[in-house]
């Protein structure tokens, strides 16, 4: 509570939209990108702390290798690799976020992938840690990474057949069709024998609340229904 006299009105303007601007010192990164990778990248776009480029999915290993190894870039840390589905008839994107100590901005590389034929070279040769990222993308979106040595489901069961994060994935899902379903009968509602419970319920003589057999006079109800229960 250092400065008690500071009026709160002097704080930053509240709720006002900030203009999007390029990070102040990312100019060097943008120049290097356009000069050195000009033929591979397109649609350069910046945010307050991010520089974004788009590439072809098939070129991802070449571009990322150069971004990692060339001294001007030195993006040594793979912060994130995620897949985005733009819906049927559109495309997939595999989005890499990279960190470099030389540049003050995150670099986002969006690799376009054909949605009908979702194949992409693996980058586990560059960063071993991309393995779980790629397994998750395969599991959730169904993108196949060529050359990945361990491309199998990571969250869903091995015999699960659809890709739940695609935009055309509709609930209820096909989990009930999976051979893994019904490990125990409790998990398969269609096998439940509810008939006897239902019969038992209809003839039940258990007391109910509010009681239904009390005499009801005009203008009042048996139970006070004005209070929420």
């Amino acid at each position: 509570m250092a400065d008690v006299r500071r009026p709160w009105a002097a704080a930053d303007p509240l709720g006002r939209r900030r203009p999007l601007s390029a990070p102040a010192a990312a100019g060097a990164l943008i120049r290097h990108l356009t000069e050195r990778l000009g033929s591979d990248i397109r649609d350069l776009w910046t945010d307050e702390d991010t520089v974004e480029v788009q590439i072809d999915g098939a070129r991802n290993v070449d571009v990322l290798t150069r971004l990692r190894d060339e001294e001007e870039f030195a993006f040594w840390f793979l912060a994130d690799a995620a897949a985005v589905d733009y819906g049927p008839g559109e495309r997939f994107e595999v989005v890499y976020h990279l960190y470099s100590s030389r540049h003050p901005a995150w670099l986002r590389v969006r690799a376009h992938v054909d949605r009908q034929d979702a194949h992409l070279p693996t980058i586990t040769t560059l960063w071993e840690g991309a393995m779980f990222h790629e397994r998750e993308m395969y599991d959730m979106m169904g993108i196949v990474f060529d050359g990945n040595r361990d491309l199998r489901r990571i969250y869903m069961s091995p015999d699960y057949r659809s890709f739940p994060q695609r935009k055309d994935f509709v609930l209820p899902d096909d989990a009930a069709d999976s051979p893994a379903a019904g490990v125990s009968p409790l998990e398969r509602p269609e096998t439940w024998d509810l008939g006897r419970f239902r019969d038992a319920l209809t003839v039940s003589s258990a007391p109910t609340y509010p009681p239904t057999d009390l005499p009801v006079e005009d203008g009042e109800t048996a139970a006070d229904t004005s209070r929420p229960r």
Partner: protein, 427 residues
């Protein structure tokens, strides 16, 4: 303590016998006894239905050589830090290969968030990494504020930094206790929980919830500080260093603890970077990478602190790193309280927001490493794509790398030193 060379593997009698036998067979001009890779054993050996292996790696794991055996650890193993199964291939007492099997806690939070409004997303991310709930809310708050073009008032940013650092203290404190617990010491976890419960009571005084705080909002925080919070904060601040020190005295120089952690699970800086390990685990390997310094968010630009690193890269260094970061966080909390300005804690933001189409990336330094959110808006009331990168999910890949050649009992000790939380791993 005799120093153990990290490259030295424990001599394996079965392996030695096999080598001797092969040497004799080669000398006698006979064909080698065992083919490369061993014989495929199948999933039946670990009690799950049989099916063909799907990948090369899976076939390797499930192929058994002479004297090898597959063992399940989990999914209800008491020290797997949640619900997780590890298939361990052992030869006697020695680990040959490790294959983590995930998904027991998978709730599809990303998909849930894509069907929720921006405000409700902040409630869905809470149960992900349930020991760093405040960090879980911080990253989406940053991303959504970028998307919507709104900025939290300064007091809100200070309160955010305060609760986030408090959360880091109790998370790291619990790691100390759990690591000792997995090694066999029961007492430190009790002291950890004293410290943790004090902080949790404090945070529930400010947020109204005990574990899943739901405290952050787009453009601010839910509540300003109140008397109960501040009085609890003062009491806690008076005791915390003594509590931590009590734990330290019990663990740090303990001979059994040192024997189980020094030189155990040694991860080099290059390997850690390649594996995507981040946060305290990466810094314990000597890489000074801290998002609070690398890409300062919130008010971290205004605070004075250094990036702490350790040299060893082993379990013990990861433990020391946690202790150093607890003290650093307490130092940061002091600074935050000194500098905290007056003012509102919430910007004028409607309940349902519709950001302009765009993309935003928000990354924070959670107690387990780089926790980031990538959100895409298509102009609607809910995010078109909501992606979370959980640090413990990625760090888990280090276990199969580190364990071969070590003892089975050390698997859990090394895993505990990485401090994974399965709620975050399985999303």
């Amino acid at each position: 303590m005799t120093a153990i060379d990290p490259e030295t593997r424990i001599p394996d009698p079965i392996e030695l016998d096999r080598l001797e036998e092969e040497r004799l067979r080669a000398a006698a001009g006979l064909a080698p006894l065992h083919a490369e890779g061993g014989e495929y054993a199948g999933f039946d050996t670990v009690g799950i239905p049989e099916r063909p292996p799907q990948t090369e790696r899976e076939r390797d794991v499930y192929s058994l050589d002479e004297g090898e055996m597959l063992v399940n650890m989990g999914p209800q193993h008491p020290s797997t830090h949640g619900v997780m199964r590890i298939v361990v291939k052992v030869r006697g007492e020695i680990v040959v290969d490790v294959d983590p099997v995930l998904g027991y806690l998978h709730r599809g939070i990303e998909k849930l968030c894509e069907n929720a409004t921006y405000t409700t997303v902040l409630t869905y991310v809470d149960p992900m990494d349930y020991l760093s709930t405040m960090h879980n809310e911080h990253a989406p708050a940053i991303a959504f504020e970028k998307l919507y073009g709104v900025k939290a008032p300064p007091r809100a940013e200070y309160i955010r930094a305060l609760v986030v650092e408090l959360n880091r203290v109790f998370s790291h404190g619990l790691m100390m206790g759990f690591l000792a617990l997995d090694i066999g010491g029961l007492t430190p976890i009790l002291y950890s929980f004293i410290n943790r419960d004090e902080i949790v009571d404090m945070l529930s005084a400010i947020s109204g919830q005990r574990m899943l705080f739901n405290f952050f909002r787009v453009g601010g925080v839910n509540w300003d500080t109140n008397d109960e919070f501040l009085s609890r904060l003062g009491t806690w601040r008076g005791n915390v260093l003594r509590n931590i020190e009590m734990n330290e005295r019990m663990i740090t120089e303990n001979e059994i603890f040192r024997a189980r952690t020094v030189n155990m699970g040694r991860l080099s800086g290059d390997d850690a970077i390649s594996l995507g390990v981040s946060g305290p685990n990466l810094r314990a390997s000597g890489v000074p990478f801290d998002i609070r310094k690398a890409h300062p968010y919130s008010i971290y630009r205004e605070l004075e602190f250094d990036v702490i690193t350790q040299e060893g890269g082993d379990s013990y260094s990861r433990y020391l790193q946690r202790i150093a970061e607890i003290k650093q966080s307490i130092h940061l909390i002091d600074q935050i309280i000194d500098k905290m300005p007056h003012g509102p804690v919430q910007a004028q933001v409607p309940g349902i927001i519709r950001p302009k189409p765009g993309r935003a990336y928000g990354a924070v330094e959670s107690p387990r490493g780089l926790y980031s959110v990538y959100a895409i808006s298509d102009g609607g009331p809910n995010p078109y794509r909501f992606r979370m990168r959980d640090p413990s999910f990625i760090s888990l890949q280090a276990i199969p790398k580190l364990m071969p050649g070590r003892l089975v009992a050390d698997t859990m000790a090394v895993m505990a030193s990485f401090d994974p939380v399965m709620g975050g791993v399985d999303k």
